[in-house]
């Protein structure tokens, strides 16, 4: 065996090194210096992220394959991993206060180890070119997450959320694997390339069933409607840091892996089979997510439904099926990471200080905690898509990508998405209204949030404003997407 091919997995190896250092640090350092574990893991992750962007050695200049084509990496894959790394750094920083709190000290190390393992699983899932590697990555990303959802042992909701998450995760895996077994029966191989070649001209009923199973299985992980019923409960019950992680990074990674699977294994059947499945899913996801978000009073539940509808917008980048769509999807995930993590930073800070998560508690927040209220407002504006914040441009680009095909069906789809943007504006502004306009006595007393929480929110707010104003970032994403290996799968 040629051991040099491990060098193709530079990013995975860097992440494993971070994991090992965190593990050994937690195991062997004295109790007092172990309090710095969150800081250590965040700094290590920051180094990996910076290396991914600025160090040529970690950059991937050309598509590379390893392990008999089971693993592949390329500039576009390296970029999406770097984007996930950014989100990971913010989550690690924001979770520091919670991880060092009273009941968590015993299990602090486990949290950071598990969270790094799930990121490793997502890396594998994105890089997989064989369904075995893909499934291992998928499980590696979703099983430790169930343990993390159950992390708050002293809160009953955490356990209820965890059992709902694990049962639906296993159920969706079973559905996905069933579809996969049909694909294997049709194609005789589990390599994406071989499936692509073998299925040429095999548009049978069995393929439609298999694809429906595969899409349903991944749809569960992405919480697309009608597979979304676990989302709200899990997001509400899980510790806030874990909810933040679930809603942005897990979702972003799965969405990109979904695109890879659909394009590289089933690209031939875009217009015949899966375009229409996705079409229905997107309309349902955006609409139902938005309508249910309106009536939520718990902030975490509210953001759960908002994240369902955001997943629908991310799917627009897949159904566009062109290089613009890929670039817009990456940009959308990047912006979504910053906006959602800013919102979760505020929610987490308030929850850690006062234990309140209801939207009614936020009434008049501006008078007691103006900075938190302002951060929350920016996050809501960005999620809703108000210019000049980043959220507007991410929505704009993803609609542009979807309209490239210029078919009437796509125009209808984008129109429905646009109408839903207006609906979403209503409920995002409800939060802003509660904080700024309602003049009830605020139940949240003025408090000073922890240093780590403030750093996390500063980074997120900087990202929201910066990404909205600096266009070269999107240009570079477009250049990467156009030269990517995915382009050869797109039509025309």
């Amino acid at each position: 065996m040629d051991y040099a091919q491990f060098l193709a997995m530079k990013q995975e190896i860097a992440l494993l090194v971070v994991f090992l250092i965190v593990f050994l640090y937690d195991l062997f350092m004295p109790e007092r210096s172990r309090r710095a574990l969150p800081a250590v893991s965040a700094v290590l992750m920051l180094i990996v992220t910076a290396a991914g962007f600025f160090c040529d050695y970690f950059g991937v200049s050309a598509p590379t394959e390893a392990f008999a084509g089971m693993y592949a990496t390329s500039p576009v894959i390296a970029t999406i991993k770097n984007i996930l790394n950014i989100g990971m750094v913010i989550v690690l920083i924001q979770s520091a206060k919670w991880a060092n709190s009273e009941g968590m000290v015993m299990r602090r190390g486990e949290f950071y180890e598990l969270i790094l393992v799930t990121l490793f699983g997502m890396y594998l899932m994105i890089s997989a070119r064989h369904f075995l590697v893909f499934v291992i990555g998928l499980e590696c990303a979703s099983l430790p997450l169930a343990a993390m959802v159950a992390f708050d042992k002293s809160r009953y909701e955490s356990h209820e959320a965890a059992i709902k998450y694990i049962l639906t995760a296993v159920f969706s895996s079973a559905i996905f694997l069933m579809g996969l077994s049909f694909v294997y029966g049709l194609a005789g191989s589990l390599y994406f390339d071989n499936i692509y070649m073998a299925l040429m001209g095999h548009n049978t009923k069995m393929l439609v069933v298999a694809l429906a199973f595969v899409i349903a299985g991944i749809g569960f992980k992405l919480s697309l409607v009608p597979f979304h019923l676990w989302t709200a409960d899990t997001y509400q019950g899980a510790p806030t840091s874990v909810t933040a992680y679930l809603s942005v990074i897990s979702k972003g990674a799965t969405a990109f892996a979904f695109l890879t699977v659909l394009a590289q294994a089933f690209g031939l059947f875009y217009s015949q089979v899966w375009e229409w499945m996705l079409y229905a899913l997107i309309i349902l996801t955006i609409t139902v997510g938005n309508l249910f978000a309106i009536r939520q009073r718990n902030m975490k539940r509210f953001l759960a439904f908002s994240s369902i509808s955001q997943a629908g917008y991310i799917m627009l980048g897949i159904i566009a099926y062109n290089a613009l769509g890929v670039a817009a999807m990456m940009f959308y995930i990047l912006v979504y990471i910053f906006s959602n993590l800013a919102a979760f930073g505020v929610i987490g800070a308030i929850e850690n200080a006062t234990g309140r998560v209801s939207m009614d508690d936020y009434n008049g927040l501006y008078k007691t905690n103006p900075r938190l209220a302002f951060t929350m407002m920016l996050a809501m504006f960005s999620l809703a898509g108000i210019p000049p914040f980043a959220g507007f441009f991410s929505k704009f680009f993803i609609f542009t990508g979807a309209l490239q095909a210029a078919s009437p069906a796509m125009y209808v789809l984008v129109l429905i998405a646009l109408i839903n943007t207006i609906v979403s504006l209503y409920y995002y502004l409800l939060v802003v209204k509660a904080m700024f306009i309602k003049d009830d006595e605020c139940v949240i007393a003025p408090f000073r949030s922890a240093c780590s929480e403030r750093i996390g929110m500063w980074i997120a707010v900087a990202g929201i404003i910066f990404l909205g104003l600096v266009s070269p970032i999107y240009d570079s994403l477009i250049a990467i997407a156009q030269s990517s290996e995915l382009s050869s799968f797109f039509l025309k």
């Binding site: 895996s173 077994s181 029966g185």
Partner: protein, 103 residues
């Protein structure tokens, strides 16, 4: 009488559907877990059958099944741990009792 792939595929599909039905109707969490296990085993069987009858020259499906069994075991272990935690809280493993969070 020759035993063709169909003789194996139908039982595996029945297993999968029984698991599906059980998961949707049973209210005991352990029973739900057993149903999930049935579904996963039906899938494993499917892979082996397709490999044995359609592509006997290679081992891809068999290897996939091995990994599938390991994944199912890991999932069950984790789910049982969470169920035990819930039992400590509510002295019950009926899924209908878990209704603190709704709508």
């Amino acid at each position: 009488m020759e035993i063709t792939a169909l003789y194996y595929l139908v039982p595996s599909l029945i297993m999968f559907c029984c698991g599906l039905y059980g998961f949707l109707t049973r209210r005991n969490m352990i029973a739900m877990l057993i149903s999930l296990e049935l579904m996963l085993n039906g899938v494993d069987l499917n892979f082996v059958i397709f490999n044995r009858f359609l592509f006997p020259g290679q081992m891809e499906g068999m290897i996939f099944t091995l990994f599938g069994i390991a994944l199912a075991a890991a999932e069950t272990a984790l789910a049982i741990a969470i169920i035990i935690n819930i039992f400590r809280w509510v002295n019950n493993i009926d899924i209908r009792e878990l209704n603190q969070m709704k709508f």
